[in-house]
């Protein structure tokens, strides 16, 4: 039998190469799957690449999709830093979009007042939705994985109710979307592009997160709580309060992403404003090892994958392959990380190594 043994960890550079190998392995596995199901893997990947980055339009579409991915991932990463699992970014995004849309559809304000207010409401919608599971987590230790997740379904059904019911566009018979927002409620586009100004939220949030985590007492406390909640309690840190703040902020960032989608990209609220950004966010945050700038880079890669996935559809390959590839990337990288600290040893080699070690031990 081949055995698994601990080893001295690989040098950081080698470890990074192992992670890249993991990504490569994921695409090889994906290609094997495509071939097995009767598709041409090479042409599928070519379509994927073209759809993701083959033209200026494709690149802009990838960047547009990277915005909600990066924001939700940053929120999820913040919660992870405190050892908290926010699986509810999807619902928080939707609730942020809901509150922001309320302002867009009811207030007749000029853009200078309306847009900041909508952003604020987006933050509030996502933050409050995240506080719902944060309170029982802080008070009783109720597992937040399941509670944050269940709230996603409720949030999605709530928006379904609105867009099919009271907010339904009267001129679009039974289509699941609201009236179009007035111009004052639309985030402008970056000059000379299709990209909405909400893209600017991303570096702002990342910089704030990086600064807060590294250079403030608050960030220090969060990292201590994440490493060892018991130590944090002994050190007199306000752990329950920090849980509320961290999960609240984590949700607020996701809510801001929702505001960006309805105001900057879609221009109305509709069913299915997020094709699962909040779930991809968990994988992205994990792959980026919670590093804010790394999160943006991984989010771009995943946005390319999702965007390219739509292009595959025309070639007859279901776009669901994009979700499978996201999962395979994480699986392969997890296995790669394992081999940074472990190795496989064949029994004969193991015996030889033991003998060498013993010979060395008694000179």
């Amino acid at each position: 039998m081949i055995r698994i043994e601990r080893r001295a960890p690989l040098a950081p550079g080698t470890a990074g190469a192992v992670r890249l190998l993991g990504v490569l392995a994921a695409f090889l596995l994906g290609a094997a799957f495509l071939s097995l199901t009767g598709h041409n893997a090479l042409s599928a990947y070519a379509d994927l690449l073209r759809g993701a980055a083959g033209s200026s339009y494709a690149i802009q579409q990838t960047i547009i999709k990277a915005v909600p991915l990066a924001l939700t991932s940053l929120g999820v990463a913040l919660a992870f830093h405190a050892g908290l699992w926010n699986i509810g970014a999807e619902g928080q995004l939707v609730m942020g979009a809901f509150l922001a849309s309320w302002a867009a559809l009811t207030l007749r304000w000029p853009a200078v007042a309306l847009l900041p207010f909508m952003a604020l409401l987006g933050l509030a919608g996502g933050g409050l939705w995240a506080l719902l599971p944060a309170i029982p987590r802080a008070l009783f230790g109720t597992n937040e994985i399941i509670t944050t997740l269940l709230l996603n379904y409720i949030a999605l059904l709530w928006v379904d109710y609105l867009v099919f019911g009271p907010w339904a566009d009267p001129s679009a018979f039974s289509f699941p979307y609201s009236r179009a927002f007035p111009n004052a409620a639309r985030l402008p586009l970056l000059p000379g592009s299709q990209i909405q100004a909400g893209v600017l939220f991303v570096p702002l949030v990342a910089a704030a997160l990086a600064l807060a985590l590294r250079h403030t007492t608050w960030g220090y406390e969060i990292r201590v709580i994440g490493h060892s909640p018991r130590t944090a309690v002994y050190a007199g840190m306000p752990v329950p309060m920090q849980i509320l703040i961290v999960l609240g902020l984590s949700g607020a960032v996701a809510g801001l992403a929702g505001m960006g989608e309805v105001s900057g990209v879609i221009g109305r609220i509709q069913q299915g404003i997020s094709p699962g950004y909040g779930y991809s966010a968990i994988i992205i945050a994990w792959l980026a090892r919670l590093n804010p700038w790394g999160t943006i880079a991984v989010a771009l890669g995943f946005a390319a994958l999702i965007n390219g996935g739509f292009a595959l559809q025309t070639g007859g390959v279901p776009s669901a392959i994009a979700s499978m590839l996201q999962a395979l990337v994480l699986f392969s990288v997890l296995v790669g990380d394992f081999f940074v600290t472990h190795r496989l040893v064949a029994p004969r080699a193991r015996a030889a190594a033991m003998a060498a070690h013993e010979a060395h031990a008694k000179p």
Partner: protein, 310 residues
């Protein structure tokens, strides 16, 4: 409501609760062995689509259920390799397995959307028992997968709590180091636990696509896998309590449909929220009283024997 209407409602509680029973009992087996599998939703989807495809292609329901169980178990094998052999984080691995299962099922099911299955599970009155007042209507005018669940639940309970293999499985989940010292192979036990859990989740999926709402649609589980995971906590890792809980949740879900059928005024979106709201409320009640009562001691913790060399 007349007693007949109550009986009909309870009968639909059993219909709606059955997939939760299969999924929750499977998750109990996996968690009792020490592996927290958050991939239930994804495994159910894989079971639902592969069972449906097998039924359409072969016209054989028994084969379809076997295929569903095997396909979901294969997907769960991936989780076992990652979490047991490579010691990866169980939460992130399981969540990702759900994404993987959703993608895989959508990929495979693309050509089967809107295709009717030539065979489906239909209610089958058990002669004699079906005539028992009330209970006959509630329990014995159901389909074969429901009847099979009447056997799976007590069987799982007896095996887990009263037999040697059950004790072995629980030992690996309760205290892996001690189990190892006693000469048990913790890794193999956990693989078995995860695979049984996967197979049962697959049956739950086949129930959805071949009995409950016979058809294949993307993401047709609609969160039932997550409710099943919550149910495990509520059931304190006991299959009998899981069955009781599943019927309770099924009753809440069925209540929504009943109210709609009676011409209730609440929009269907709120009725569809009911199971999720109810699950949340129950989770809060259970955890506010005591922290995770009945949880296996080493749940979620990878086990590696201390290395003496290397």
């Amino acid at each position: 409501m007349t007693s007949h209407m109550v009986a009909l409602w309870l009968a639909s509680a059993v219909v709606a609760g059955t997939p939760l029973i299969y999924a929750a009992v499977g998750e109990i087996v996996a968690e009792r062995s020490g592996v927290f599998n958050l991939g239930v939703e994804g495994m159910m989807l894989v079971g639902a689509v592969s069972g449906f495809i097998a039924a359409v292609r072969s016209g054989d329901l028994a084969l379809a259920v076997v295929v569903a169980a095997a396909a979901a178990a294969t997907v769960s094998f991936l989780l076992a390799v990652l979490t047991v052999t490579f010691g990866t984080d169980q939460a992130v691995t399981g969540l990702t397995l759900t994404l993987f299962g959703a993608g895989l099922s959508s990929f495979l099911g693309k050509a089967y959307i809107g295709v009717p299955s030539p065979v489906t599970f239909r209610p089958l009155a058990l002669p004699g028992l079906a005539e028992v007042p009330l209970l006959g209507t509630i329990l014995f005018r159901q389909n074969l997968l429901v009847y099979a669940s009447y056997l799976v639940v007590p069987l799982a309970w007896i095996v887990l709590s009263r037999t040697r293999p059950g004790l072995t499985l629980r030992a690996a989940g309760e205290d892996a180091a001690t189990a190892d010292a006693l000469g048990l192979n913790v890794a193999v036990i956990r693989y078995v636990g995860v695979l049984i859990g996967g197979a049962l989740a697959g049956v739950a999926g086949a129930y959805l696509s071949l009995a409950y709402t016979p058809a294949w649609t993307d993401n047709m589980t609609g969160g039932q896998g997550w409710i099943a995971i919550a149910l495990v906590i509520f059931a304190t890792w006991n299959p009998l309590r899981a069955a009781a809980g599943a019927y309770l949740f099924g009753g809440v879900e069925a209540l929504g449909f009943r109210l709609q059928a009676l011409g209730g005024t609440a929009p269907s979106y709120f009725l569809r929220m009911l199971p999720f709201v109810f699950t949340l409320a129950v989770l809060l009640l259970v955890t506010a009283r005591a922290r995770r009562p009945g949880m296996p001691g080493n749940l979620g913790r990878p086990y590696f024997r201390e290395e003496r060399y290397g």
